[in-house]
């Protein structure tokens, strides 16, 4: 279910905070309140803090409005997240007020959900002791909530605790127990994910310090292992796979034992956190890069003699414009997340896997020599020349302090050592095809979306075979490749490449074929 309708819908967790409070009292009672956990809060980005105070306050207030805090989540229906709950609409009613019964209808999907959630084994509809919450989305009562206490399947009449004079008009829409999925996602996230990925999904939970590679910071809206085309976001299903099967080679463990609904709830919560983070990031980008409203820039402008009234006007305008900015950017974000779920965004190989044979792997090897060795090295050990060069930081335009490659989160990344047979994004041929076709954008692994899929399959076959390579297996292939390179131009770069390959072979190959590699 996707909501496209705009509205703000609080998800109450008063009950939970009471329990937390009781626990905290327990700690105080035994006199060791130093051990009570810190309060869960959504942290603010560094960039937001650098904004001038009026603007950064406005950003924080708007974030709070649109997403709430960990104790009181807000389901912003502009975002394509399944917050949970059952959507329905009222029918034409002949009953006269004051009344507390309305005829309602659900579409097929919602009807199944409604029955699964509220009908007990005897066929009766039960709504708990205090009733189930109903939030009106449109019509006379839009924004108001009521408590549902009964439902009659035959007449399709919903009974509420509240009596109203004017019955809701036919076609008014509502949500029953809104935010269910998000709430259970939060509980599960707090239990399983928070200690690494942090309350805000900033990859900075208490155990994150001890991990290498660092846990993912969702707040850029980017994920490394996905099944979608290079520019697209990750799909629900893709995130679900990562959670279910873990990421070997990192600290992300498998959560195979979670129920399907639990997994789904976590996926939705992570997507929601990711959208929250990316929205803040984009807002900051806009305010810093386009409007230049940071403390630093403003101070510089004032020092340059810019009119401070004019600056104040700019600030006031940015503050007043904040809801609109949020709305615009959230709209763009929503579109990109929705697009990822569309059929066309999924990578589907245009041809079936090429049969794994030496010939196929040899073709893959040639492609590997052509495109991959700078990072992955000639032997696939992940030690290509790029890992020893100083790379430029694209954001600042300066060289990184350390040699090697860096991902978009600023963490040092190592190209995969393919000889180990550990495949973070999964080891099915299709997983490797996704990696090649879609690249791994956040770690700067290029995509090969335009390459002949046959060649990609050859490369998949080659890569899957690297751990089992016998010394010198591709020596003829390599020779042929470098010779053809020499003929077709023989530029110095390639000659240097060949030299590097030869040296490496000399150092590492233990086979007797080594000497034939002399060129």
């Amino acid at each position: 279910m996707r909501h496209s309708h705009y509205g703000v819908l609080p998800v109450s967790i008063r009950q939970n905070s009471n329990i937390l409070f009781v626990l905290a009292c327990g700690f105080l009672f035994v006199g060791c309140d130093a051990f009570s956990p810190p309060d869960a809060v959504f942290v603010v980005r560094e960039e937001t803090n650098q904004l001038t105070s009026n603007v950064s306050n406005a950003v924080e207030a708007e974030l709070d409005n649109s997403f709430g805090n960990p104790h009181q989540l807000v389901a912003w229906l502009k975002l394509p997240v399944d917050f949970g709950g059952v959507m329905g609409a009222t029918e034409e009613s002949t009953l006269e007020g004051p009344l507390n019964k309305f005829p309602v209808t659900f579409d097929t999907e919602a009807d199944e959900k409604f029955i699964a959630q509220f009908q007990n084994d005897d066929g009766d509809f039960k709504f708990g002791e205090s009733g189930a919450r109903l939030d009106w989305m449109t019509g006379e009562y839009a924004g108001k909530s009521m408590q549902v206490i009964g439902y009659d399947a035959e007449t399709q009449l919903l009974t509420t605790k509240e009596k109203v004079e004017v019955p809701p008009a036919a076609g008014d829409t509502f949500v029953l127990s809104a935010g269910d999925t998000l709430k259970s996602g939060r509980a599960l996230y707090m239990e399983h994910c928070l200690h690494c990925h942090g309350v805000s999904g900033d990859g900075n939970g208490p155990t994150a310090l001890y991990l290498n590679p660092r846990p993912r910071d969702y707040r850029l809206g980017q994920f490394k292992f996905k099944s979608t085309k290079p520019a697209e976001k990750v799909r629900q299903e893709g995130l679900g796979r990562v959670i279910k099967y873990g990421i070997p080679g990192t600290y992300m463990p498998s959560f195979l034992l979670l129920e399907d609904e639990e997994l789904y709830a976590i996926v939705e919560y992570v997507r929601w956190l990711s959208m929250r983070g990316e929205l803040e990031y984009r807002v900051d980008q806009e305010l810093v890069l386009a409007s230049g409203l940071t403390n630093k820039i403003i101070a510089e402008r004032k020092a340059d003699g810019d009119d401070s009234e004019e600056i104040q006007e700019e600030i006031d305008e940015a503050v007043a414009n904040m809801p609109v900015l949020f709305d615009d950017l959230a709209g763009q974000l929503a579109e990109s997340w929705l697009l990822a779920e569309e059929e066309g965004s999924l990578i589907v190989p245009a041809v079936a896997r090429v049969e794994d044979s030496f010939e196929s792997r040899a073709r893959g090897r040639k492609f590997f020599l052509e495109k991959c060795t700078n990072c992955h090295g000639h032997k696939g050990r992940g030690n290509g020349s790029m890992t020893e060069d100083y790379q430029k930081n694209e954001e600042t335009g300066e060289l990184y302090a350390e040699p090697g490659l860096f991902d978009i989160w600023g963490n040092s990344v190592k190209p995969r050592n393919l000889t180990q047979g550990v495949y973070r994004g999964g080891r099915r041929p299709v997983d490797l095809f996704y990696r090649l076709y879609g690249g791994i954008g956040p770690s700067k692994m290029p995509n090969f979306a335009t390459t002949d899929p046959q060649i990609l399959w050859d490369t998949v076959n080659y890569v899957l075979h690297v751990p089992f390579e016998t010394p010198g297996e591709y020596i003829e292939v390599d020779k042929e490749y470098f010779e053809s390179k020499k003929k077709s131009g023989g530029d110095e770069e390639k000659a240097a490449d060949e030299e590097a390959a030869t040296t490496e072979t000399k150092q590492t190959a233990t086979g007797s074929t080594e000497s034939s590699d002399q060129g």
């Binding site: 155990t207 070997p248 600290y251 498998s254 059929e343 099915r428 041929p429």
Partner: protein, 267 residues
């Protein structure tokens, strides 16, 4: 006050014995029936030791209560100290030593069958079903391709899974237990198997699930902050279903995303 303590120290052991007797009937503490033949034998060892300990407990408590009541009536008699009595020392060294020696000899068969590779059931030893690699904080599993035997070295045809170990039921199976990082412990409470995974070692472990079904697999060695995450399951399947499951795994693992492209309408 004297009578209070006398009664207290008399009632406590009696209550303890009563609790001990009714506990199995109330399903307290006892871990349910073992799901494997060797597990049943391990359980009978456990019960044997429990009986010995209960007997000893009752004996010593009767003696203590007897002394307590007897001497409580004599206000003028000085206590008698047994410290340094050679005879007593010999008696309470030899009697427990004898009991321990008996237990040590009596359990040797079961222990050998559980731990000593050459005593493992032959059919289990011949064909290990999988390699179980513990790591912080999950269980990574490697099966041989159906029809092949598991090799110590990775093979191109191997099948991989995580946190779910599938084995045939009603037949002894052996796994190779390894760890990628720190010490973990492979614990199947229902099957009464617990074996540490030690860095640098490949440890063969065998077990037999009498009935098909799901069994709990957890880590029983505090291995780090995420220790609690190492919950997994062992699924015991009837022979045919086991083979089908392996075939299915092989098929999933060779997925090239092409064949099902037509009907893929996932989420």
């Amino acid at each position: 006050m004297r009578w209070f303590w006398l009664t207290f120290f008399t009632v406590c052991p009696i209550a303890a014995v009563v609790l001990c007797v009714v506990a199995p009937g109330l399903d307290w503490w006892f871990p349910g029936e073992a799901g494997s033949p060797l597990g049943e034998r391990i359980d009978s060892l456990f019960y044997l030791i429990l009986y010995i300990v209960t007997g000893t407990f009752i004996g010593t408590q009767i003696a203590m209560v007897y002394v307590l009541w007897k001497s409580s009536k004599k206000d003028d008699e000085r206590a008698w100290y047994s410290h340094g009595s050679h005879n007593l020392e010999v008696i309470w060294t030899i009697v427990p030593a004898g009991i321990l020696l008996f237990i040590a000899l009596y359990q040797m068969d079961v222990w050998a069958e559980f731990r000593v590779l050459s005593k493992f059931p032959k059919e289990a030893r011949k064909a290990p079903v999988a390699e179980v690699m513990a790591r912080q904080f999950e269980w990574r599993i490697r099966y041989p391709e159906p029809g092949r035997t598991l090799q110590i070295q990775q093979q191109p045809t191997d099948l991989y899974a995580v946190n779910e170990l599938i084995v045939p039921a009603a037949k002894p199976v052996m796994i190779y237990l390894k760890t990628q990082d720190v010490q973990h412990s492979f614990f199947l409470p229902e099957l009464r198997v617990k074996q540490d995974a030690v860095p640098g070692q490949i440890i063969p472990v065998w077990f037999e699930a009498t009935k098909p079904g799901e069994y709990v697999l957890v880590c029983a060695e505090l291995c780090g902050w995420g220790h609690y995450k190492m919950g997994a399951r062992v699924v015991a399947l009837a022979e045919e279903q086991f083979e089908a499951a392996m075939e299915k795994l092989a098929e999933e693992q060779s997925d090239d995303g092409f064949a099902d492209a037509g009907e893929s309408d996932d989420e």
